[in-house]
């Protein structure tokens, strides 16, 4: 729970945001997807005087073709990167990295710009951006500059961003004939990697970058080691170099420094071996299959924000009903739904974005409502579990399937689980068991062992495919 009051601003022009940032002093926090900032605020680790949301600025999320590079808007959400056809064609390993991030709800909300600025040493994008030689475009009132990804990360969760600067775009060179791969080691799905590795190689050059093995991604040119091809000996030589380069590996609860160093070598070798086994066309096709042609959702323009104060006026549509409310800035969407609107079907299991009990649809995609500020959903449409069944006799087919298959016990995770399942079936009406498990990995259940939930979702998919109406869109 966020206990420290703060001001909230959500300008709809970048220029205005830059002005607020320039004038506002140091303790302003920019808010993008909030998937790193919100948990930190909920735990009291970050206590800004003002939160400056970028979510109202139009056109922050895009991928554009620009000759030999792609231009990716800083506000592009992780799921959009996974589905983007240009990325699938020209830099598939970026999408590959994005698909490892957190879980569906985190990918629906988190942005590439936020991930870069947050600079977690084990973030999934960083090694990819460093190996492919991406450039980070940043803007301030003074103007715009480009920083090479390799130079952007300057220390543990520290970047080259100067005061008053906002990340606006990432320029990702097209891979062309080069082959790339991204892979990682983690304790559980949905958690940051212990180490991760990206590799890009063509006939002449080979580059790798390792994340989680030092305060910043460690980039190495291993062209010399691989000059006679990707052989076992060559990989072993790369491994030795990686171990030597990772002298600064961090130690934490997941892994000691030594283990990280050793694993960095293993994953460097694996990333190279995967990349070497790939042809660019095949990799692009693989990722392209994941890139669905669904229109990306942008936040709608502001309906009216009360500037400055500790409360914000918002206009939202909840389950189709327009509502005008005023919220304490500390209030998250889950609190707004539960405490103000009495929609208590949305539960809170952790308050820090890790359990999914609070999952709702925000503008048609699932988010963890404990990690979205109420003030930040002005102009949005929210759907909660309450929207699915008008009464106890008429459950949504998915809900009927949960009941039939005993997909719930205590029911605490259930509403969030159903919302995630709904998202999953909207994206993929015919998921196999692995896809179902992956799709609900952002929703923890302590009662069921997931088996009957998985059964319920696949049973619902079958029932829906067999002619019943598709899940309400």
């Amino acid at each position: 729970m966020i206990i420290q009051e703060f001001e909230f601003r959500a300008p709809d022009k970048l220029g205005e945001a830059l002005a607020v940032l320039a004038e506002g002093g140091d303790d302003i926090k920019l808010l993008s997807g909030g998937m790193s900032l919100m948990p930190m605020m909920a735990l009291g680790l970050v206590r800004p005087r003002m939160v400056l949301s970028l979510n109202r600025i139009e056109g922050r999320g895009y991928v554009r073709d620009d000759r030999d590079a792609l231009r990716v808007g800083a506000g592009t959400r992780h799921y959009e990167i996974i589905r983007d056809p240009l990325i699938a064609r020209h830099c598939p390993l970026l999408a590959e990295a994005a698909s490892f991030i957190g879980d569906m709800q985190v990918r629906n909300r988190g942005t590439i710009g936020g991930s870069l600025a947050h600079a977690d040493p084990a973030a999934d994008y960083s090694p990819v951006l460093v190996t492919v030689g991406a450039r980070v475009v940043v803007r301030s009132r003074r103007g715009e500059r480009e920083i090479a990804a390799e130079k952007f990360f300057t220390g543990l969760m520290a970047t080259a961003l100067a005061r008053g600067e906002i990340v606006t775009e990432v320029v990702v060179p097209k891979l062309g004939a080069a082959r790339g791969a991204y892979t990682r080691l983690h304790r559980i799905e949905g958690n940051f990697a212990i180490v991760n590795a990206a590799a890009v190689l063509n006939d002449a050059n080979a580059r790798i970058a390792l994340g989680g093995a030092g305060p910043v991604p460690i980039a190495l040119d291993v062209s010399a080691e691989l000059s006679h091809g990707v052989t076992d000996d060559a990989l072993a030589a790369v491994g030795r170099r990686v171990r030597a380069a990772c002298g600064d590996a961090p130690a934490d609860l997941n892994a000691s420094a030594d283990y990280r160093r050793q694993m960095a070598a293993v994953y460097a070798e694996r990333a190279l071996a995967i990349a070497a086994g790939r042809t660019p066309a095949r990799h692009a096709a693989e990722m392209g299959r994941k890139a669905a042609a669904s229109a990306s959702t942008q936040n709608k323009p502001a309906a009216g924000t009360v500037g400055g104060a500790l409360r914000t006026a918002i206009a939202i549509a909840v389950n189709g009903q327009p509502r005008r409310l005023e919220a304490d800035n500390r209030m998250v969407l889950a609190d707004l739904l539960r405490d103000v609107l009495g929609l208590t079907g949305t539960h809170i299991g952790c308050g820090t974005g890790s359990c999914g009990a609070c999952t709702v649809m925000l503008d048609g995609r699932t988010v963890k409502s404990c990690s979205v500020l109420a003030a930040d959903v002005d102009g949005c449409a929210v759907e909660t579990i309450e929207s699915l069944a008008p009464d106890i006799q008429h459950l949504h087919p998915l809900q009927e399937s949960f009941v039939r298959n005993h997909g719930q016990q205590c029911g605490y995770c259930t509403p969030g689980m159903v919302m995630s399942a709904l998202q999953l079936l909207r994206d993929n009406p015919n998921p196999d068991e692995a896809a179902i498990r992956h799709g609900i990995s952002g929703n923890l259940c302590r009662c069921t062992g997931y088996q009957f939930i998985v059964n319920a979702i696949s049973d619902a998919a079958r029932a829906l495919a067999a002619g019943k109406p598709p899940p309400a869109a």
């Binding site: 206990i3 304790r187 539960h347 205590c410 923890l444």
Partner: protein
Amino acid sequence: MATEQLHATAGSVAPGDAPEPRPAMGSRVPGLNSRVLVVGRGTYVGDLSLPGMLHMALVRSIYAHALVKSVDASAAQALAGVVCVVAGDEIRQNTKPIPQAYTKAGIGAHAYDWYALAHDRVRYVGEAVAAVVAEDKYTARKAAELVEVEYEELPVVSDAERGMAPDAPLIEPAWGTNVVMQRTTEVGDVAGAFAAADGVVSGCLSTQRYSASPMEPRGYAAVYDAFRDQLTLWASTQCPHPLRHYIANIIGIDESRVRVIQANVGGAFGSKIPTYQEEPLVAYLARKLKRPIKWIEERSENLLTGGHAREQKVHFEAAYKRDGQVIGLKARIVADVGAPSALAGWEMSLVTNFCIPTVYKIPNCRIELFPVATNKCPWNAYRGYGKETASFLMDRIMDDVARATGIDRAAVRMRNYIQPHEFPYQQVSGVILDSGNYPGAMRKLLDLVGYAEFPKLQAEARAEGRRIGLGLGQELVAEGCSLPTSLLIAGYDGATVRVNPSGQVTVLTGVTSPGSGNETAIAQVAADTLGVEVDAVRVIQGDTETCPWGLGNYSSRAVIMGGSATYMAAGDLREKILKVAGHMFEVLPADLECRGGRIFPKDAPTRYLAFNEVVRTIYNDTFGVHAKEIEPGLEATRYFRHPNIYQEGDPEGRSSAYPSWPNAVVGAIVEVDPATGALKLLRVCMVHDCGVVVNPMLAEGNVHGGIAQGIGGAIYEHLVYDENGQFKTATFMDYTLPTAVEIPPLELAHQETRSPFTPLGTKGVGESGVAAILGAICSAVENALPELDLRLLEMPLSPERLWRAIQDAPRKRADDGAGSARS
């Protein structure tokens, strides 16, 4: 074994009393509450909003061990919206300590007076020091940060074995030791067995600290009506009636003026059995301020203070014969039980103690137990309740013996099992195992998991460069716990069954549901006993004002105790109804049958009366010819006392606190990545015996959940403290619960050996699944790497731990074993 005595005690509930298999019982009836839960209309405490409601937040110790010199609340009090701040002194003056679950003196254990707030000393990070009440939850928490507590740090005990050293700092100076109690159980001729052995295996098993982590953290809300002198407490609790008694005691109010209502509970797994500091605090403050108060736990608080479990070391030696028979066992259990409290925790180590040697016949055993207090969160009840460590230990020993003798892992277990004809069987600690068919379950499992064909699969995988292994695990899960002198933990419970004038049935139980769905099983029992459809039955639980006295749910007792009491009460009504129906039919009641809402002569099922018709006769024609011979009314309350509990002690002074012994055997298939230590579970199969299964779907769901928690404990979950007693894992980013991706497909089969002691033959299912998987996973990993002499004794199997074990394991010589084979 005193079989005679057993039957005498079993009394009127002989096996023959059980009804024939009938439609509802044994069928996959969907949960009665499922529809409400799946639409999000469950009502958890956090969902309650009461007029004028205030919010409580706690000031918690930041030190593991310190004197509290002063508490300064002036800055907090000055914050707008703060209503009051209370500290330990006030609580000390105005309330009593939280009652202990049972009198410790009886078993020679030290006890501790735990108040709702610490007053002069804190003994773990997170112990509550002061409570703040404010108009909204943000202000309450903000004010809690403004309360200034002055501490003087004391030396910290952060490790149990170090806490046993003579010069260790004392957590409770009055005890003169950190050892909560010491117990040694010795049976048979242990020295003789070791002398006669062909070999000995030995090691030290260690299980890590972990937590129940229900998805709903704890929550309480209280209202005090000063004009009626009535306190109502909504609680996310497993045990509303005992809680009511305790609250009345602690805050000094008549028990009859306290009403506890169990809201929907979002999972509990044992953690919501006892009374914590927060329930009495909320109750006390609601009465003091005469305004409703709510407290909802944050996840970080739940991980920090919601009760921990399982951090134990077991040093063991087992003596075996060349043919695989284990003839002697020595075990020394050292449990790191955290700070003394009133939670139901450290007793779990006692249960580990007396479950050994589980399903095996090992006549010569010496088991020493040392539960040691440390400056960490107190242990609290958690699914498995110590049984998992006993089962895990025996699994590791069986695998060691298999390795040492070269005998197959399943065969070694078969050689040592208690045999099906030997039940009831008195185990070395004195407990009496009710029923089981361990060899039968093992044979089923070997089929289910494809044990015989596995080496072929393994070879094929190996040819593709994949390392897979199959492991076995076995669990014996003591259920229905009953502790001497305990109000909270006892082996009985009650139910009221009421047939309403229109023929629908209301069942009110003393047992409750933590969200596991036992109300459905209870409805099935009532439906079949009365011969009505399940739809006609409503089950009401968890309200002390309406439900009969009962102890709630823990130790899988809901169906064992509550189901049996329901069966008895419904049976009384059935008798009355048949008497009247007999009169109406002019046949003997014994010649009537009731089923599906109809009552009919057994030999003429088409000549039937509607159940409702007979009920109507009883209510509307009380003085009429058919009903005048029975006592009016159709309501009965009955209590079931489990007959397989012995408090008195046998000639050797051994008692038996657990009456019910479900068991299971697991086969797990894993894939190991030797280069990283990463593990992937591919399949988990379990054959499970909980006696008669009332609802297979609900039982399976429960077991699935148990297995998933077991997997969490085996690989992913670990509560970590540093050497200063500082807590390192206060979020789900650090305490990693497995997701649907980590849990593999789960395959179950039932094996049914009835309990001879319960009228329906049920044995309980709530804790099954968590234990056997531990041994199975270790066994599978070792099996996947046959070229290594890998012995996994330290949990959890995080990638790094496993990777190191693989690095350190010696390469096997063909004839090498874990044991020191003697010639």
